[in-house]
């Protein structure tokens, strides 16, 4: 017998929890859902566009009734639950029917606050909470002219905008002197008011409602100062209160909301609560992002993966009024201990303010251009030290990171449907918008899975996120702050690494068991990452799990689109010899190589080899002294050099020799992502050292060291690390930097985003300022190199991993020909 789960509340929080539960443990419960509204589950954040006529009810439906049927869920819609009998473990609905539960989930949401003035129950006085309210407003808009919205908060302004779109003359009445006083500072609020006035909204500020006047239907509103205005429709939008009535009645501890712990359980551990009805660590939430996080944790606990904890959400605000972009988060008022960075351009209608303390962003307000809001929000949540780019931070991320063609001028909303968003997979804006609306997608991962956009090189991720925000509405985007490694675990990359080191976990199965992986043997994402983390943590000890490596690293060659492989031998520092070239030429002829290509990393690639031929090819190359170039690995790739002072009339140091020495030191090393070096003989920088992961530029007085460059997906010039005098120092700094990257970066994170994530100051602190620490890092690097500098080609040419390169069997005419 399956246990019974009863869900009270058919809104976003309750159903999101059910969806998350079905994802991780589909067969655990018999699920019954009670909803007071006569609909399936709809997207409540989209009520404003529904009112404004920009969306239809169908557009905002998340789960239609078929969904409940398909998932074996019993839905009682339009049936309010009136009683929870915790002793008998059953709920009783308004029609007297009852349902037993083993576990109960309360997701009753919130109710609008109705101000206690005379006449608040007249016909024509509505709140703005559900589809029914929207219907009543739309009805009123057809027959009446004058609408008054009480409340100049987010909801009030969205309602006012919607009613105006429906042709009503709308006045917003607000108790305070500025709009959105909890979300905006004064300058931004003034800009917003001006812009809304230009659109035709009227405002009465500092106005306290005394009474709503009328016989049956509302006729006018009277204020404390005695003035009156006409009104055929009054919308109360002064705030919401957690809906705790039912829980209270059942004796469940409530304060402002139903009090829950970090696993979303109430004081009765069989009873869970999520969404706007709960109070967690003293806070109640009225936005969608926290609700999604709660749903995930609650589902995990219901599935008896007792591992997720909800630790509160840092929220941000966006207004869903088309054409008005505003954003705020955190403490944007500041105090005597904070500083303000302000950018204001009145004629463009752009305003942004960052409140900063100790070089960390504490709060942000943006008006007019909010494309960078996610970036500021992340910086704030991560408490990133902004001192490295404080001078540029106000100009946005594109300015800070360099603009690789996706500049901020490209506003997603203004793009035409056939604008290509994802160049790798040829996905246009229209495709993505269609998938988001038709398939009800909410997250970047969903969009990736359904459209493939942003799933290859990732350079369009920002645009896809912006599109998602644009289509789904304001606060979708607050993706969980700390992202799990993959769907198999709740743990982040950093948590997993800490556990590997702290608990001395030494194999993939051991990690998965200790950290309670949700899948029997992981997925490609986590297996590859774990294999790397273990290899990095336990050099010489960890047994590489070849089945957890991508084919290229398993076969030590690059798979091509026809299933053939390419082979690239190492050319130390870009130097080669006639003998090596002759050997390569002979191999190319002997194995009828289809393409011989000079690579960007100063080497020669042979294309079109069959997998079975690889060991023999390698044997031939080995005989000429050529070894694997690791062109297939998340590993040290090449060290590009110019000829330097040996030949060049401008050369200041022997850059080729330096490059060869660096390559001899670093080859064979596995890294979180590919790693490239270059050494230039003078500041003319012919080896392009300033777009490499570690770049060395010779100068007359020694060597300049640069880090974190990238010439790929997003061009990023290196940051200058420091100047050193000797070649020995170059090698020590290089080894230390590589080891810091190896130990600290997440798997598949190149040095460029890594340096941006941790900050250049962090790198300097460990590599430049801490001599002892640097030497230790370099020592650890060289120690791990002891175990990684065997040529994998040679091992395989001599028969290792034979099964990888041979067919199991050949069968012709149903007869066995060759049996390995």
């Amino acid at each position: 017998m399956k246990e019974k789960l009863v869900v009270i509340g058919n809104g976003m929080a309750g159903i999101r929890t059910v969806e998350e539960l079905l994802k991780v443990a589909p067969d655990t419960y018999d699920i019954t859902v009670f909803g007071a509204e006569p609909y399936g589950n709809y997207n409540r954040i989209m009520l404003s566009p529904l009112l404004a006529g920009e969306k239809t009810i169908d557009d905002i439906m998340l789960n239609d009734e078929q969904w409940y049927v398909d998932n074996g869920i019993t839905l009682h819609k339009g049936k309010e639950v009136t009683e929870i009998d915790r002793v008998g473990r059953r709920v009783v609905a308004v029609d007297g029917s009852s349902e037993k539960y083993d576990r109960l989930l309360i997701a009753t949401g919130s109710t609008p606050f109705i101000i206690p003035v005379p006449g608040n129950d007249l016909e024509g006085v509505v709140s703005f909470r559900d589809i029914h309210d929207v219907d009543r407003m739309l009805q009123a808009a057809k027959q009446h002219k004058h609408a008054v919205v009480i409340g100049g908060g987010l909801l009030g302004l969205e309602a006012a905008n919607g009613l105006m779109q429906q042709g009503m003359s709308v006045t917003v009445v607000h108790l305070m002197d500025t709009l959105l006083e909890r979300q905006l500072d004064k300058p931004a609020a003034e800009m917003l008011k001006k812009s809304l006035e230009e659109r035709g909204l009227n405002f009465l500020m500092g106005a306290q409602t005394e009474a709503i006047v009328g016989k049956e239907r509302v006729e006018k509103i009277r204020f404390k100062d005695g003035t009156e205005i006409y009104a055929d429709l009054v919308v109360m939008a002064v705030g919401i209160r957690a809906n705790t009535a039912l829980a209270k009645k059942a004796g469940i501890h409530c304060e402002r909301g139903i009090v829950v712990n970090d696993t979303m359980q109430t004081f009765d551990p069989r009873v869970y609560a999520v969404g706007e009805c709960v109070q967690h660590r003293g806070i109640t939430y009225g936005l969608v992002a926290p609700l999604f996080e709660m749903a995930k944790v609650c589902a995990n606990h219901l599935a008896q993966y007792g591992i997720g904890r909800y630790q509160g959400t840092v929220t941000s605000t966006k207004l869903k009024v088309t054409g008005i972009d505003l954003f705020s988060a955190g403490d944007f008022h500041g105090d005597e201990n904070t500083e303000e960075l302000v950018f204001q351009d009145a004629s463009r209608g752009v305003y942004r303010k960052l409140v900063v303390q100790n070089n960390r962003i504490k709060g942000a307000v943006m008006y007019g251009d909010t494309l960078d809001s996610n970036w500021y929000f992340d910086l704030m949540r991560d408490e990133t030290d902004i001192s490295d780019f404080r001078d540029k931070v106000l100009f946005g991320q594109a300015h800070h990171l360099g603009d690789a063609g996706h500049g901020e001028e490209q506003r997603v909303a203004a793009m035409s449907d056939d604008t290509e968003i994802c160049g790798c997979n040829g996905v246009c804006k229209g495709d993505i918008v269609k998938a988001i609306t038709e398939k009800k997608l909410f997250t970047l991962d969903d969009v990736r899975a359904h459209t493939k956009a942003s799933s290859s090189c990732g350079s369009c991720t920002g645009l896809v996120e912006a599109l998602l925000a644009h289509v789904v509405g304001g606060d979708y985007s607050t993706a969980p702050h700390l992202k799990p490694m993959c769907g198999c675990t709740v743990h982040t990359h950093d948590e997993v690494r800490a556990a590997i080191n702290g608990q001395e976990l030494k194999s993939i199965p051991e990690v998965m068991k200790t950290l309670e992986w949700k899948t029997p043997d992981g997925c490609p994402k986590c297996r590859m990452a774990l294999n790397y983390y273990l290899l990095c943590a336990w050099p010489g000890e960890y047994q590489d799990a070849s089945q957890s490596r991508f084919i290229n690293e398993r076969a030590h060659a690059n798979i091509q689109k026809d299933g053939s492989y390419s082979v690239i031998p190492r050319m130390w520092g870009g130097d080669t010899t006639p003998a090596e070239l002759r050997a390569i030429a002979e191999v190319a002829e002997k194995y009828k190589v289809k393409t011989v290509h000079v690579t960007g990393g100063q080497r020669i690639a042979l294309f079109g080899l069959k997998k079975e031929e690889l060991p023999a090819v390698w044997d031939d190359l080995n005989n000429a002294g050529l070894v694997s170039g690791h062109a297939y690995g998340k590993a040290l790739r090449t060290v590009k050099t110019c000829v330097g002072k040996e030949w060049c009339r401008f050369g200041t140091q022997d850059s080729t020799r330096m490059g060869i020495e660096l390559e001899k030191m670093t080859w064979g090393c596995w890294t979180p992502h590919k790693f490239k070096l270059a050494v230039s003989g003078c500041p003319r920088n012919c080896a392009e050292a300033t777009i490499k992961d570690f770049g060395v530029v010779s100068v007359d007085s020694g060597w300049e060291l640069h880090v974190g460059g990238n010439g790929g997906v997003k061009v990023r010039a290196t940051d200058f690390l420091c100047h050193v005098k000797t070649g020995e120092e170059v090698k020590e700094y290089c080894a230390a930097f590589m080891q810091l990257y190896r130990e600290n970066a997440h798997y598949l994170e190149r040095t460029a985003p890594w340096v941006e994530r941790v900050g250049l100051s962090y790198i300097k602190e460990h590599i430049v300022e801490d001599e002892e620490g640097r030497k230790k890092l370099a020592e650890r690097f060289l120690y791990s190199q002891k175990f990684s500098q065997q040529d994998p080609w040679k091992e395989r040419a001599q028969g290792a991993e034979k099964h990888e390169f041979e067919p199991l069997l050949q069968v012709m005419n149903e007869k066995v020909l060759v049996n390995s």
Partner: protein, 112 residues
């Protein structure tokens, strides 16, 4: 046909969480072995762009194609949603330590 089993090797010839290829005149067949020593056999061609599934990462009862990371169900050759497509599957079984494969394709998907 269906009882036309061919012995293709022993269980230990195929790495756990891995695959080996049986070459036939009608194309390669990949024989997979999961972490629980379950065996599956599929035409060694991803329904997307023909990538060699035998070279992918085997996880659970799925394999990730090495070319574009489509996930294919080992049991029936169907692509995991939202991707759509199917590759032919073949009967395979273990007799003692011997891996037995039938070249008569399973019914179920048109495949290629």
């Amino acid at each position: 046909m269906s009882d036309n089993w061919i012995e293709v090797g022993s269980l230990n010839d195929i790495p756990q969480q891995g695959a080996r290829v049986v070459q036939t005149e009608k194309g390669d067949i990949a024989v997979f072995r999961t972490v629980d020593d379950e065996l599956f056999a599929l035409r060694d061609k991803c329904p997307h762009r023909g990538g060699p599934l035998s070279q992918g990462i085997v996880h659970g009862k799925r394999v990730a194609c090495p070319l574009h990371d489509w996930k294919i169900n080992l049991a029936n050759g169907e692509a995991v949603a939202p991707d759509e497509g199917c590759t032919t599957s073949f009967p395979v079984k273990l007799e003692g330590e011997r891996v037995m494969l039938s070249l008569a394709a399973n019914k179920g998907c048109a495949g290629n």
